[in-house]
């Protein structure tokens, strides 16, 4: 081999290597059949999946008990619990929140902020490209765009409800790798947020279907969008957000740095109530004009239905309760009972609901007592128990001879009675007799009968639990976690549900996000606050709203009749204030453990007052004969530490975010 040949050979080989490896750093070929950003918009299938990626980031609305994503029930007077957890005993998120254990840096609710903005970015990424997807028809495009806007508005809705005024991005997608000045931003005011979110929901409503097919149950509908608007508009008209005393007290000095605007409006505007009334009415109109799309859930009466009290109209529902079984009508709405061919989620009372078996049934762990598959520490305060009416709609302090209320330690039922499939045991204290049907549907008290009929293990079913200190669900069974008040929540427990024993199972359940009942009562509340007639025009039709007593009772009474109670009385209706009190109480009862009270107390400005009342319960440290049946303040540490502070109107914005975004104001009272 000659030198020349060798040189030629080397040059050839090395040139070849250089050329062939010029593209060595290009790794695109490895990603050929994997997904990249562009392929999201290449087909309807893909863009739908991308949209799904945003949907799955929504929190489970039913997760309001243990490990809640928002403060939830234990942050209100609806429930208290002992600590529980492994390896470290810990109070529930809501309890800790109310005990001021969290800072803006370590709040367990910080994740929601991040999560919701991720949804918003995904939708903003998707919306401009919907038109480019080759295999989408106009109808598909409109449908997906409507759903996209709904999800985005719903994410903002979560932000606004929990963090208060938020950062509105509109359709913007911010760059991911800029310096900090680029990210400077200020929060919108509360009103700006509500207006933006409502507009978005309304736009979404235009493209959303009236009803979703069964396989898409839970997916947003026109009604869901409008109902969320109704909820927001009612909130916007309430004391805290409409220049009321509480708005001035909590947010009087909270202004935006750049323009000095109050984040929370400081001037009262009655028109907001009219807007709220209209927003609620739109849902009613939608329902009524679509063959009663929504209606309160009822079940026909049968032989076991107890006789109606004389003061309840015997007309067929909705003009009375003559043809329904009130207890089952209410209880089957929550406990997962299904009529043939439907799912708990498609109940016509659910304007928007989520199949939330995981969250709801997980929480039942804290309902079922020790030794029966649970830890039994979820305790409902006496205040809730007392709020329930007597069977004839009277207050416990003003009961009638026919349905008397007796509170002492000696009077007990002498025999077991059964009505509407419910068994009221022999030996139940007189406090729990003659109460309205929603009480029996919602509350387990001492000596309650627990059917637990799915299990076949004899000693794990059909039990009567007692919360006396020496009872079978009392504190002696487990000194670390036990029931603190003598009451727990029955609302989401089906008679068949059992957590222990062979073949025990739990029914799948829906968690109601917005029930039709809420729309009706919201309509009543909004009308109640009007002092004059307001005209609102939409789509060329003029709607007028005023404090029309007939209109109010027509819709409000449906809720009462469904529960087997009499309608509003003239005393109730007398003034705005008197009716307001009735509404506050009605919402407390009707929506118990539906995550409404936390927000209701805040918007009404009543939270500080209500939270300052002591948490009372039966004396679970005593035996049946030795003083159990007396109301005592709950003295457990978790309850003692509760200490409402003004800053707790809102959860804090994550401290890290505050430090990163120039101009981002923290909620009043929280670390910044």
């Amino acid at each position: 081999m000659k030198i020349k040949n060798i040189v030629t050979f080397w040059v050839a080989v090395s040139t070849l290597l250089v050329l062939s490896s010029c593209d060595a750093l290009n790794v695109d070929s490895y990603f050929e059949d994997t997904f990249n950003v562009d392929s999201i918009f290449s087909s309807k299938y893909n863009i739908e999946r991308y949209y799904n990626g945003a949907v799955v980031l929504l929190p489970d609305e039913g997760k309001i008990w243990q490990n809640s994503y928002i403060p939830g029930v234990t942050a209100t007077d609806e429930a208290v619990t002992c600590d529980y957890g492994f390896p470290i005993f810990q109070s529930w998120n809501g309890s800790q929140f109310m005990s001021d254990k969290y800072t803006a840096d370590n709040s367990p609710f910080n994740g929601l902020w991040e999560q919701m903005y991720k949804i918003i970015r995904k939708i903003n990424t998707m919306l401009p490209h919907i038109n480019e997807v080759p295999d989408m028809q106009t109808a598909d495009i409109n449908d997906l765009r409507a759903r996209g806007r709904f999800v985005r508005a719903y994410a903002y809705f979560h932000l606004l409800e929990n963090y208060g005024p938020c950062l509105l991005l509109g359709d913007r997608i911010l760059n991911t790798n800029e310096q900090s000045d680029y990210y400077a931003a200020e929060r919108a005011t509360y009103d700006e947020c509500v207006d933006y979110i409502c507009t978005e929901f309304e736009e979404a409503a235009k493209g959303l279907p009236i009803k979703q097919p069964l396989y898409m149950a839970g997916s947003p509908t026109k009604g869901a969008a409008l109902a969320l608007v109704a909820r927001l508009r009612l909130e916007q008209a309430s004391d805290m957000f409409n220049g009321g005393a509480s708005a001035r007290k909590y947010f009087g000095n909270w202004t935006r740095e750049s323009d000095g605007k109050n984040y929370i409006s400081q001037t009262y505007d009655e028109k907001k109530w009219a807007v709220a009334a209209h927003a609620a009415y739109r849902v009613i109109e939608l329902s009524e004009s679509n063959n009663d799309l929504y209606k309160l859930h009822t079940i026909a009466k049968d032989a076991t239905t107890p006789a109606l009290p004389a003061n309840v109209p015997a007309n067929p529902f909705p003009d009375g309760a003559g043809d329904i079984d009130p207890l089952r009508s209410y209880s089957n709405l929550f406990n997962g009972d299904v009529e043939a061919g439907s799912s708990p989620q498609t109940n016509p009372e659910h304007v928007f609901a989520r199949m939330s078996s995981g969250a709801v049934n997980d929480a039942s762990y804290t309902v079922f007592p020790n030794n029966n598959g649970g830890i039994g520490n979820l305790s409902v305060p006496q205040k809730i128990i007392d709020a329930y009416y007597m069977a004839d709609g009277r207050d416990i302090n003003n009961s009638s001879a026919e349905y008397p209320y007796v509170e002492d330690q000696k009077t007990f039922t002498s025999e077991t009675v059964t009505f509407s499939g419910y068994q009221l045991n022999k030996g139940v204290n007189s406090m729990y007799v003659n109460r309205e049907m929603r009480f029996y549907a919602s509350i387990y008290f001492c000596e309650s009968f627990w059917p637990m009929s799915s299990t076949i293990t004899a000693n794990k079913k059909e039990k009567t639990f007692t919360y006396y200190s020496n009872g079978n669900a009392g504190m002696n069974v487990n000194k670390d976690y036990y029931n603190l008040t003598g009451y727990t929540i029955k609302k989401f427990i089906h008679p068949q549900d059992a957590r222990d024993g062979d073949q025990s199972r739990l029914y799948s359940k829906a968690f109601p996000i917005i029930r039709y009942a809420e729309i009706l009562i919201a309509y009543a509340e909004a009308l109640n606050n009007l002092t004059q007639t307001h005209e609102i025009e939409e789509n060329g039709i003029t709607y007028t709203y005023s404090r029309d007593k007939d209109e109010i009772s027509k819709y409000f009474n449906m809720i009462r009749y469904r529960a087997g109670l009499p309608g509003l009385s003239t005393t109730d209706m007398a003034t705005t204030a008197s009716l307001f009190d009735v509404i506050v109480r009605e919402r407390m009862i009707e929506f118990l453990h539906e995550n409404r009270r936390y927000y209701d107390l805040r918007r009404w400005g009543l939270v500080e007052q209500e939270e300052s009342e002591p948490i009372m319960g039966m004396d679970v440290t005593k035996t049946k004969t030795n003083g159990y049946y007396q109301r005592v303040p709950v003295s457990h540490r978790v309850v003692r530490e509760r200490n409402f502070q003004a800053k707790m109107i809102y959860i804090p914005i994550p401290l890290k975010e505050i430090r990163k975004v120039k101009g981002l104001a923290q909620n009043p009272g929280w670390e910044y």
Partner: protein, 1044 residues
């Protein structure tokens, strides 16, 4: 091609040589002498360009060779400069003096790829070390670099065989980004210093500034270590062996309290914590007098676990030789290094805890044509580690199992449990019924780890003088294969505890607290393959006697595939890691006085989006040799050499943590997931790409002087450097969540500066023919400061990371101990219930309470994970006749650490009873003058002494005293007598005649002999592990070299 293969197969100097034309043939005879005038045997004498013709000089240095007119006779000998002499006529008494090659090496510096460069023309900052200096019986080369090589700082954190490998940095740490370690090139290929036997090393240099590292591109941003291994040389087969035997002794184990003192102090701690005493008088007496040892044991777990000493041995042999056509170098070595654990003879798993390694190396060089040489190299490294399994599964990345032993000996108290109960029942430790260190070591199964590394290299070098004089082309390719396997058998015997007291018959009632865990097997396998290719063109020529012009250019490409079970979960892991780039150098020198270098790297990295993958990084260097002027030579006779050199350059770095392709937004697809709204299938971004990423850039400045005085006897080199890093990759933290990115992208946001100086001085004096000595010293001083470290805005400037050195330790400022209750009441609130005798902290922000906002930067380099700012070494040798004595001192400057002040078992011993009944207590704590005790307990107000090492004792965690603070601060600076060695060279004609042995070198080496420091409790180099790691032992080695 056939010919090439043929040449490869046949060892060329065996080829028969045929006679040349008789007319011009004559004989040349003579004698060869060395620099001292003594005769030199075994010198290869051959004819240039006439492969196969040659002979060797005899024992008296005489040689004879037949040649023809005009031939060039070559004289070549290992360690000496090759001599060429043209012959024209017959000669009978030619005297040839050969000079040692070390003089030549002194003149030359190895530059990767560019081959050897004349030292005078080097303008970059390069330190070279004589290979001989590294040939000491250290466990590996890296451990011997610190103190020897200017510009390198190394840290050794464990003395355990297999883990006793130092970490090292060139000029300290320059970036807080992903990768701050140096590039190590062995014969031009990325390699591992731990795998090289020092005897294989031909040259060792460290490239420190940008002009020197530029041609290595991004890989060289943190400096480059260049190692070349020995090659074969024309000449007679030369075999040498080395064996050494090392005795190593564990030094500086933390001393813990024995039972009585422990119990006594525990009672004090209980009292100070308001708790009833734990041990009554019966117990205390029993501990004191060793009564009832099964109930009141007194076990020294350290002694149960360790032997005071162990023996290691290594053996090494190499063979070197060749003819003018092919040359070879072969070596093999093995090292057997057991650890000093005390193993029970009856243990079923009694394989010793050991680290054994085996290595081999083959370097073959061939002349294919007059201008073409080929190189073929194979080397390999096998290591085998054995350890007890500790009854747990193990996978790489997990804390090493033997660390548990150390943790356990620091945790298990002498009073806890006896070693075994009568009848051989094993005791268990702690609330979770753990194994005691004794059970762990002997009865918990076995772990074995094998690593195998092989490298094959082929290179071809072509002189292209035919095209233009001075041009050459070199192509090199290599295949690197590493595999490792872990095999684990784990087991736990049943464990028992006494329920207290004796039975009437003297038995002890036992309960089984933990059942036997049956033998389980697990394994883990990992494999890596690396392909590397480079082609180089070089040119070097002297024009008109003054103008020296050179250039060099390289293309390189690397492809690395990793196949490791368990980690290939993501498509990113499947894609081979690739690099490629072009680098170049242009050199110009005028009359060996002025020098100019221009270098560039054009590097490609997969970490950037197509189109932005390549970065161009230039550097320039200038040099001026003042001593080349005649007037300097005449007027400054004492100054024999003076050179100033300066360089500036940019180097790119593309290492971005473990995240690959950070520019790419990737989508995760799940076709089956469904939503609660009835949707099926989910697509979501799993990583947000940052499309504006660019190279991290280091701007490196260097200014240096090289000087020689007094006829070259004294030489001093000084370098000053500054590195500015810009665009350091960080995962963004200031990007707020509200933009909705699924992950935080990476950005070029960090910046940092480091600066310092290094240098060395060497003095050589020859007193007479028999006696000479050398002393040398070097230092490295390097500081750094983070200019920008992206973090969410901090409320106080001193809480930021920017403006401070990287790895800053933060803590509270201690104001001493609280004197009394009044002092507590009148001071800001601290942590938990504070009492007199607890540590009092300074309220930095003056808000009346001590919390995280009062933590201030205390010192850099916490925990020993980053190098000290100042390190130095000084050594020397004395040669007398055939004896030589070498010594080395090594030290570091101020380097702080915390010897208490955090949670967890790491500080067991340092914070007495921090974990209640877990954790040993240092014996110094028992000395009353070292701790604060309330007068209430001691009955003596003098014991409320604030000037102590230990604050008020508490039983269980003291929330206040366990915070990091200046109270617990110590200084780990040290000066070590690192090494002393005595060498005797035996050279006897009779040995040569009878056994063929040319020389025998006998060496006695002491390593890690003495340390001056204030740490005392543990080795100053190991403060970070608080006595929970194998100490660096004192080692004494007998080493024997035999040269055949």
């Amino acid at each position: 091609m056939k010919r090439i293969i043929l040449v490869l197969l046949v060892v060329s100097y065996l080829l028969p040589v045929f006679a040349q034309q008789a007319s011009t043939v004559f004989t040349v005879q003579g004698v060869i002498i060395d620099e001292n005038g003594e005769t030199l045997p075994n010198v290869t004498v051959f004819l240039k360009d006439r492969p196969g013709v040659g002979s060797l000089s005899d024992f008296d240095g005489k040689f004879s060779i037949r040649c023809s007119r005009g031939d060039v006779v070559m004289f070549s000998f290992v360690g000496y400069q090759t001599i060429e002499r043209q012959v024209t006529e017959e000669e009978r008494n030619l005297t040839v003096q050969m000079l040692p090659a070390s003089i030549m090496l002194d003149e030359a510096v190895i530059l990767g790829g560019t081959g050897v460069q004349r030292k005078v023309s080097v303008v970059g900052a390069i330190s070279s070390v004589e290979a001989k200096q590294l040939d000491i019986p250290a466990t590996n080369i890296v451990n011997s670099l610190g103190g020897r090589v200017p510009g390198i700082v190394s840290l050794q954190s464990s003395g355990e065989p297999g883990k006793n490998l130092s970490e090292f940095w060139i000029r300290g740490i320059g970036t807080f980004g992903a990768n701050s370690s140096a590039l190590v090139l062995v014969d031009g290929l990325e390699g591992n210093l731990n795998e090289i036997d020092p005897a294989d090393i031909e040259s060792f240099s460290v490239l420190k500034d940008a002009s020197a590292t530029a041609i290595y591109g991004s890989r060289g941003a943190n400096g480059v270590v260049l190692v070349t291994t020995k090659r074969g040389e024309s000449g007679k087969l030369n075999i040498s062996t080395r064996s050494n035997f090392t005795y190593s002794k564990l030094k500086r184990l933390p001393k813990y309290l024995r039972a009585y003192e422990y119990a006594d102090l525990a009672n004090e701690a209980r009292f100070e914590s308001g708790l009833p005493p734990l041990y009554d008088d019966v117990a205390l007496e029993s501990f004191k007098y060793g009564l009832a040892p099964n109930i009141y044991p007194d076990i020294d777990w350290q002694a149960e676990m360790l032997k005071p000493s162990s023996f290691q041995q290594t053996h090494f042999v190499n063979a070197r030789g060749g003819g003018s056509v092919a040359r070879y170098y072969l070596s093999m070595g093995m090292s057997l290094e057991p650890a000093a654990y005390r193993l029970e003879r009856d243990s079923k798993y009694a394989s010793s805890v050991a680290y054994n390694t085996y290595n081999y190396r083959t370097n073959l060089d061939m002349n294919i044509t007059k201008t073409t040489t080929a190189y073929f190299g194979v080397n390999g490294y096998i290591s085998n580690t054995q350890a007890p399994s500790m009854g747990s599964s193990y996978s790489p990345g997990q804390q090493s199992t033997t660390d548990w032993l150390w943790e356990s000996q620091a945790t298990t108290t002498p009073v806890s449990y006896p070693k075994t109960y009568p009848g051989g029942y094993f005791s268990s430790y702690g609330a979770n019924n753990e194994m005691t260190p004794y059970v762990m070591l002997n009865y918990s199964g076995a772990l074995e780890k094998n690593e195998n590394h092989n490298l094959i290299t082929i290179a071809v070098n072509q002189e292209l003088d035919a095209i233009t004089k001075g041009l050459n082309l070199r192509i090199q390719g290599s295949l690197d294969h590493t595999s490792s396997a872990y095999k684990n058998r784990f087991y736990q015997p049943p464990l028992y505890n006494s329920t207290g007291g004796y039975r009437v018959n003297g038995d002890i009632p036992l309960t089984k607290v933990s059942s036997e865990r049956e033998m389980t097997f697990s394994k883990y396998v990992s494999e890596r393959q690396k392909l590397y290719f480079e082609s180089n063109i070089g040119y070097d020529r002297l024009f008109a006697d003054y103008h020296r012009v050179g250039f060099f250019s390289r293309y390189y490409y690397q492809n690395e595939v990793s196949n490791t079970s368990g980690t290939l979960s993501n498509i990113r892991d499947f894609i081979p890691r690739r690099y490629q780039g072009v680098a170049g150098r242009f050199m110009y020198g005028y009359d060996d006085t002025y020098f100019f270098d221009f270098n560039f790297g054009w590097n490609g990295s997969e970490n950037f989006r197509p189109g932005a993958q390549y970065g161009f990084f230039p550097s320039i260097a200038l040099g001026w040799v003042a001593t080349n002027y005649d007037f300097v030579k005449e007027n400054l006779r004492w100054l024999s050499f003076f050179k100033i050199r300066g360089s500036y350059g940019e180097v790119g770095n593309d290492a971005i943590s473990s995240q690959r392709f950070p520019y790419m937004t990737t989508i995760n697809s799940d076709q089956n997931a469904s939503t609660h709204w009835g949707g099926t299938g989910i697509l979501s971004e799993d990583l947000i790409g940052a499309d504006n990423l660019v190279w991290e850039k280091a701007m490196k400045y260097n200014l240096g002087v090289d000087t020689k005085f007094l006829k070259d006897n004294l030489s001093i080199t000084l370098d000053f450097f500054k590195d500015e890093r810009d665009g350091i990759f960080q995962q963004r933290t200031q990007v707020p969540s509200y933009i909705g990115a699924v992950t935080m992208p990476y950005g070029n946001v960090g910046s940092m500066v480091s600066w310092g100086s290094d240098g060395n001085i060497e003095y050589f004096q020859k007193i007479d023919r028999d006696l000479s000595f050398t002393i040398r010293a070097n230092y490295l001083y390097s500081l750094n400061k983070v200019l920008r470290w992206e973090e969410p805005e901090q409320r106080f400037a001193y809480k930021e990371r920017s403006g401070y050195p990287t790895d800053i330790q933060r803590g509270y400022i201690s104001l001493g101990l609280f004197e009394d209750e009044l002092d507590v009441l009148s001071s800001p609130t601290q942590f938990g219930k504070v009492r007199p005798g607890d540590i009092k902290y300074k309220d930095i922000n003056g808000d009346g309470r001590i919390n995280e906002d009062d933590m201030v930067p205390l010192f850099a380099s916490f925990g020993g994970f980053s190098p000290p700012a100042f390190s130095y070494g000084a050594g020397g040798s004395v040669n007398y006749k055939k004896f030589s004595l070498n010594f080395l001192f090594r030290g570091i400057g101020n380097r702080y650490y915390l010897w208490g002040g955090s949670d967890g078992g790491r500080f067991n011993g340092y914070m007495p009873f921090n974990q209640g009944d877990r954790g040993n207590v240092l014996s110094i704590a028992y000395d009353q003058k070292n701790r604060w005790t309330s007068a209430e307990y001691s009955g003596n107000p003098a014991t409320e002494n604030s000037n102590v090492l230990f604050p008020r004792l508490s039983y269980g965690k003291n929330e206040n005293n366990t915070k990091p603070s200046t109270f617990w601060m110590g200084n780990s600076r040290y000066l070590k007598l690192q090494e002393v060695s005595l060498n005797y060279k035996l050279q006897m004609a009779s040995l040569q005649r009878i056994l063929g042995i040319n020389s025998v070198d006998m060496q006695l080496v002491g390593d890690n002999l003495y340390s001056w420091d204030s740490v005392k409790i543990v080795n100053a180099e190991q403060v970070s592990s608080s006595g929970q790691s194998y100490p660096i032992p004192l080692r004494v080695t007998f080493q024997l070299y035999i040269n055949f």
